[in-house]
């Protein structure tokens, strides 16, 4: 069974929750008791249809206001895939939730209300999925029932959206358009009978065909050491295992490796997963490795192959998405968490703000507000071992932690 994580993005009233509810309903993922609760609640509100949004809007405040205010996770599965949907809210002020949802997703569904077409919000939703290198983007043109299932209207929206896509520099991103009516169920799971002009796949057909392995980012092997395992028992007296999750590529027994930051060379001796030894480990697996030589390795160090050493530097520039009420300013200091490695970071310069509606950049900015995105230079107290985000989604990203509040206040994507 393959797992596919999908983020959803749409403006208020684009029918995002309804679409998810429809996916659950038509894939028979809603259990009787949940369905009953939806029927009861829809009836109470006097609706003559089933309000599927009730299946996902979890918090009391949301039910009261009828909007989604935080990332919710929804699960369903088909015979071939297990799906995890991160349902993220679409208002302007909640950009941070969209960035969060997209960071753990390999595919995204962007909703457009067919009546309103491409709006400023749509630019923003696409921009974020673009910035975060989400490989597969599905543009669901929703509420087709309210525009008489018009092919002309659909093509108009498609052409407008294409103008945004043309501004993107991420050429490997797959963009797919699907006309749907979440409320009536057209092209979500079942093919629409009202849109015979559409020859493409329904939403679920498209998702089922995605090669999850292909859309997970590949790259160079990076093995950040999370935890050092030293049992100190009689049986494992000299055992020193380096536990971590493998990113980008695989690792094999016998591989010549370099340990960073010490730059010491060694060889992979054994690869353990629980009590069994393996000849190789695949990316995204949580393994424990031992080395041929007795070298000093601790949490935050990184094991890479000889000849594949990343950039090692105390200075770099990154695109930062700011997520805190307290502004970011030049000179501000933060704890920078790069994978499992923590260092201290100082903002050395804010170069320019990037408008997420593709309208260009803004220079001469002296601080960042919540939801702002900008290009920023940092200076660290210790070097980190990084790749550019475009080349390595995991080794090219970091979070910023406010040392006073301990909150995660921003996320960065390393440019160079």
């Amino acid at each position: 069974m393959k797992v596919l994580k999908i983020a959803t993005a749409g403006s208020v009233d684009d029918g995002k929750s309804t679409l998810i509810g429809r996916l659950l309903y038509d894939t028979k993922s809603l259990t009787d008791d949940k369905l009953e609760a939806i029927e009861r609640s829809s009836k109470q509100k006097g609706y003559d249809y089933l309000d599927f949004s009730l299946a996902t809007d979890g918090l009391v405040a949301e039910r009261e206001q009828g909007i989604t205010i935080d990332v919710a996770h929804i699960y369903f599965s088909t015979a071939t895939k297990s799906y995890i949907i991160a349902d993220t809210p679409g208002h302007v002020e909640y950009t941070r939730n969209m960035v969060t949802g997209a960071s753990t997703s390999q595919a995204a569904i962007i909703l457009i209300d067919a009546r309103h077409g491409v709006i400023e919000q749509t630019y923003r939703h696409f921009f974020i999925n673009n910035l975060l290198r989400v490989k597969d983007v599905i543009v669901a043109v929703n509420k087709m029932d309210l525009v008489d299932f018009s092919e002309e209207r659909y093509n108009e929206i498609k052409a407008d959206f294409q103008k945004v896509v043309d501004k993107s520099d991420y050429e490997d991103q797959n963009i797919t358009f699907i006309p749907v009516s979440a409320l009536k169920g057209d092209n979500v799971v079942k093919k629409s009978e009202s849109m015979t002009w559409y020859n493409g796949q329904s939403l679920i057909e498209h998702l089922e065909e995605l090669d999850t392995d292909d859309i997970y980012n590949k790259g160079i092997t990076r093995f950040p050491v999370q935890y050092v395992i030293r049992p100190k028992t009689e049986e494992y007296h000299d055992f020193r295992g380096y536990a971590g999750k493998l990113y980008g590529g695989d690792l094999k027994v016998g591989d010549d490796v370099v340990i960073l930051p010490s730059q010491t060379k060694s060889k992979i001796k054994d690869i353990y997963f629980y009590d069994k030894k393996y000849q190789s480990a695949a990316r995204r697996s949580s393994v424990t490795v031992t080395l041929e030589d007795d070298v000093n390795v601790s949490r935050g160090d990184m094991i890479v192959r000889v000849g594949e050493v990343p950039t090692i530097d105390k200075r770099f520039t990154a695109t930062v998405s700011w997520m805190d009420n307290k502004n970011l300013q030049p000179g501000s200091k933060y704890v920078l968490q790069h994978g499992v490695n923590k260092v201290l970071a100082k903002v050395s310069a804010i170069h320019n703000k990037i408008n997420p509606d593709y309208s260009g950049i803004e220079e001469g900015v002296d601080s960042l507000k919540m939801n702002d995105i900008a290009s920023i230079s940092f200076q660290l107290n210790k070097p980190i071992f990084f790749d550019a985000f475009k080349e390595h989604r995991t080794n090219g990203s970091f979070i910023l932690i406010d040392p006073q509040s301990n909150n995660t206040v921003g996320v960065g994507f390393i440019e160079k």
Binding site: S77, Q226, Y227, F273
Partner: protein, 299 residues
């Protein structure tokens, strides 16, 4: 590495989370109820640190109304693992006058656990508590983070949660705060059962079909026991049942079942049309039942 392992993405994620807990916190604890989710957590912790022992203790908040089968199972497992087990009793919190026993038809000790749990966290100065909650269980839990910060009063501020980006888990906290950690957040009930089947994990016998004295109330099957309030007109009958969760006896309903093996249970869940928490009496109290309990510090 084998294909089976390669596709087991959920397991790899959970092991990663376990290791982050051990590395980022001074005094973590694994909350163990003897239920299938916490049994799964124990196996994941074993895998994360092998060949070392699990580097933190297990803690059970005992309501005193547990199924005896669960307690027997708990003690056996702890002995096999060679880890420390801490038990704190809700009865003690009642005796100390910190909480008041509920009375009447729907009385349960489930809510009272919160006080005992928060006291134990303070007593041992735990800074991270690993729990088996899953986002698919309930709507409010769908919004829960993997590292979920609680304040000095054990409270959850759902409007002010830390964003969790990529794999990076921020475990920075102030003194007195603690973090609830949910390594199997992204698992579904079926995932847990499939894992138990794959790993051939032993689980308490009440998860399998057995004959039990029960009575019907509100369309749910209640266990007839001294710990469960029952009206005189509610008739006790013997039925083949099993439990889908092993909470407190007063808040866990049984389901009709003939599933006697794990693979039969997996098949039954796959076909089941009632969600797991549909058999949790405590959630039926109101639409927002879980969210309110969570704000007060419930797991």
């Amino acid at each position: 590495m084998t294909d089976k392992l390669y596709i087991n993405q959920l397991e790899n994620e959970a092991i990663y989370i376990m290791r982050e807990v051990a590395a980022q916190f001074e005094k973590p604890v694994l909350l163990f109820s003897g239920g299938k989710d916490s049994i799964t957590l124990v196996r994941l912790a074993q895998k994360a640190f092998y060949p070392s022992k699990i580097p933190f203790p297990l803690m059970h908040i005992d309501t005193g109304h547990n199924f005896p089968e669960t307690i027997e199972f708990r003690d056996r497992l702890v002995k096999e693992l060679g880890v420390e087990l801490i038990v704190r009793n809700v009865q003690d919190s009642i005796d100390q006058g910190k909480v008041k026993e509920e009375s009447g038809r729907y009385s349960s000790r489930n809510m009272l656990q919160t006080t005992t749990l928060l006291d134990a966290i303070e007593e041992f100065k735990f800074d991270a508590c690993i729990g088996g909650a899953r986002r698919d269980e309930e709507k409010a839990r769908a919004k829960e983070r993997i590292f979920s910060v609680r304040d000095d009063f054990g409270q959850w501020d759902e409007k002010n949660q830390r964003p969790e980006l990529f794999d990076m888990l921020n475990g920075e906290i102030d003194f007195g705060q603690n973090v609830r950690v949910f390594p199997i957040s992204n698992w579904t009930e079926l995932d847990v059962w499939t894992y138990i089947e794959n790993e051939e994990l032993e689980i308490p016998s009440i998860y399998f079909a057995h004959k039990r004295n029960v009575f019907l109330r509100d369309g749910l099957i209640w266990s007839a026991s001294e710990h469960v309030y029952k009206d005189e007109e509610e008739k006790v009958e013997e039925r083949m049942v099993r439990f889908r969760t092993v909470g407190d006896m007063s808040c866990t309903a049984a389901v009709d079942s003939y599933a006697e093996t794990i693979s039969q249970v997996v098949a039954e869940i796959r076909d089941s049309s009632i969600s797991e928490r549909g058999a949790r009496i405590d959630d039926k109290r109101s639409e927002a039942a879980m969210e309110e309990r969570k704000q007060q510090g419930y797991f």
